[in-house]
Symmetry: C2
Subunit: 465 residues, 2 copies
């Protein structure tokens, strides 16, 4: 047996109790909202066939897949030529499975495999880890959770409106107030490309303007030129970076600019309909404003996201006044399952970035006390008599639903109090000889440092409040 | 892109919404009890260093580890000799990580890595999947959840008593009534070996009597003889298979048989103390009886489990009158972290077999209706006017905490009702022209097939009852 100091693979993390409890608070808040909107959970295996995963994430993605060595003598079917042809060739001979890289491809695979049993529209959410052999760095891990919700099998824009509602509800329930939900539409982007005389070039335009935040207007101009967009087109494009006014005014200005283009018209019509739905739902996203006075839901024509996939509305969410990228995003797609030969499955989906949300809640100190508590009361014992006296009390506390512990040994008081402290247990109950004699127990509020002599009934009513 | 029909790796499963909801009901019931007893959640990465995993599960276990191919050009550091030496040798050159095989070794690794931050006694639970390259067969999967709770850093037998309490509480909360918690002690087994004249041979004896249920008394006799246990010893052993009486009487008989042996004394003393704790806790495990009239907690000297690991009390739980192996088990160990060079960490732990519990609850039809419900009410729409009328109602329902959906399209009534049916949505609310005119909505109870005309306020009070 190895006696060397053990370690964990780089880019992976252990989550100790305090962190798991806080992460679960986020997961549970998200799940509750998903379920309130009719989304139901799906879970797929960690391992997928490499034939399912390969070719879905581009060449770079294929490189980042974790591949699992075939069990047993994986070399039994290889020849020396297979090895001479290099690792990429050999991989296909000795590995048939890989770890899940995202939740979208497994979802598509599930839909195709169960097409005859699924009732559409199919609303599913999925909260599971994914693995990527990325170079680990601050905030980027090799194992991390994704948290997706998708509805497939309907084109109704009510789904888009409900995504705005769900984002608003989850973040509000997490205590966030100053955040912006950006929305745009692929049709608007295509319409812009056409209107500035670069029809069909929206891909290049989007890749460039997606970087506006990072490299600024001049940087984007340089990149657009490199990508072959004309000076004239860029000059027509730039005023769009800073459209002024509320959403309605911006929609109006866009109508003037894109009105003549088929794609632009499609995008504006969809956006109008999303607004109509939100307004009928009396959405807070329309009425709330952030600290700088802007509406919570903002039409942003510079929002691009990965265009290859999305075909309709796209979303992205940023918490304001916090140095953190987007914490949620998504959009509509036309063809989820085409990669597996099943055409015509359209839908819309989005996901939450739980690691980022965690960091934001920490920074803003928004984790509620209740999300940090495990055990509510620790019974402290001093000797065998005190232990025997404490046992039925322990049982009464648990019967009343109070998470409680009896320190399992008559250790020094300091040690037992230290245990309560380390575990952030808010109440300690002392069972000493005095307490046994009087029938009243000492209840110590660890936060306030106050003690009271109380009957067990009184203690239970305090602890179950 | 591949157009062939996609599949999932053998031995793995997709869990669709109905199954996830039921599994979560089991997980949540278990978690609630763990937390009530002061156990807190830990999560470790799916991948571990192979140096951490290898050599911990025996040669067979090493073969069953799923190994992950190193990223990038994994052949860059291999020579042709490495390949000629066969797959086992090559594996060490091209793979450094493997998938978690159980939750005990990662827990031990965590304790060693965090020894300076952990406050002992350390109570943790862990509910995560593990992976084994076993031959898949009925009830045996390559990916399955384990559900462990352990407390390390104390020798107090209160922990054993609390394990009995937790098992009793979880199974009772799941609706099970007729189950048996078997308990035994490693010292009792060693004492028996000594008392029958085969001191130190408890390993062989246990492997054999562990099969008593399967191969019967004669089968066990044959195996014991093969393992070199004498005829005389076996004849002394066999009466122990059928000790008569309640637990106290059995303890008394054992006292007579093992009283003189050090290990036997140790075991009986521990068992007496566990009973003392349970009695002070007024444990239902002592008072409840199963259908055949036996006590729920039963001392069973033929209970052996994997002896190499355990050193004190051992547990196993069976549901009676159901054809299913044990659904829970565990025991005390002396030396969790010795494998990583950190001696002296003793503890006791147990785990629930969630796949088996799931099958038992299905067989006995014990899943409550509430564990199967997602959406509570579906709003059915007929046209644009009805949709617009339904939207604020949808919002009111959700504001009241009712999981609800509006069918996103004005599809045929039959289709919308079919959707509610498929999703087991218990209530449907019809928003037709009549309802818009009268202000009363039609609420249909899908199970009873009854309809009522009600205001939205009345509906909410029914749905939130």
């Amino acid at each position: 047996m190895s006696k060397e100091k053990p370690s964990i693979p780089k880019g992976t993390r252990d989550f100790g109790p305090a962190v798991v409890v806080k992460r679960n608070y986020i997961f549970n808040t998200i799940k509750r909202t998903f379920e309130k909107f009719g989304y139901l959970p799906l879970e797929t295996p960690a391992m997928e066939q490499l034939s399912v995963l390969t070719g879905k994430y581009g060449d770079e993605g294929d490189q980042l897949l974790f591949k699992i060595l075939n069990s047993g003598d994986f070399l039994s079917k290889t020849k020396s030529e297979d090895i001479e042809q290099g690792y990429k060739h050999l991989t296909r001979k000795i590995s048939e499975k890989g770890l899940r890289y995202d939740l979208t491809v497994p979802f598509a695979r599930f839909v195709v495999m169960n097409r005859n049993e699924i009732t559409f529209p199919f609303k599913r959410y999925q909260i599971q880890p994914v693995w990527r052999a990325d170079r680990p760095q601050k905030g980027r891990y090799r194992e991390f959770y994704q948290c997706d919700a998708d509805v497939v099998g309907t084109n109704s824009l009510l789904c888009e409106a409900e995504i705005v509602q769900m984002i608003n509800e989850v973040l509000t329930n997490l205590g966030l107030k100053d955040f912006t939900i950006k929305i745009n539409h692929r049709g608007v982007l295509a319409g812009i490309a056409e209107a500035i005389g670069e029809k069909g070039r929206e891909g290049d335009i989007c890749v460039a303007i997606d970087k506006l935040d990072k490299i600024g207007k001049e940087g984007v101009r340089k990149e657009l030129l490199e990508r072959g967009i004309s000076e004239a087109a860029i000059s027509k494009l730039e005023p769009l970076y800073t459209l002024e006014g509320d959403n309605e005014q911006i929609l109006g200005q866009l109508q003037t600019i894109l009105g003549g283009t088929t794609e632009g018209e499609r995008g504006l019509k969809d956006l109008h309909e999303v607004w109509m739905y939100l307004s009928a739902l009396r959405s807070q996203a329309l009425t709330a404003t952030n600290e700088s006075g802007n509406p919570r839901l903002m039409l942003d024509v510079t929002l691009a996201r990965g265009l290859s996939y999305y075909t309709g509305c796209i979303f992205e969410v940023k918490v304001n006044n916090v140095s953190m990228g987007s914490i949620s995003g998504g959009g509509r797609y036309d063809n989820l399952t085409g990669m597996f030969g099943m055409p015509g499955v359209s839908g819309v989906g989005f996901s939450f970035g739980v690691d980022r949300i965690y960091d934001v809640l920490e920074e803003l100190q928004l984790f509620p006390d209740s999300s940090q508590v495990g055990t509510k009361a620790l019974l402290v014992q001093f000797d065998k008599e005190s232990e025997m006296h404490a046992l039925p009390i322990l049982q009464q506390l648990r019967d009343a639903g109070v998470a409680s512990e009896l320190y399992p040994e008559p250790a020094k008081l300091k040690k037992q109090m230290g245990y309560a402290d380390q575990k952030s247990i808010p109440y300690v109950i002392l069972v000493g000889s005095e307490e046994i004699a009087t029938g009243k127990l000492k209840l110590r509020n660890m936060q306030l440092g106050e003690q009271q002599d109380l009957t067990i009934g009184e203690i239970i009513s305090i602890l179950t409040k």
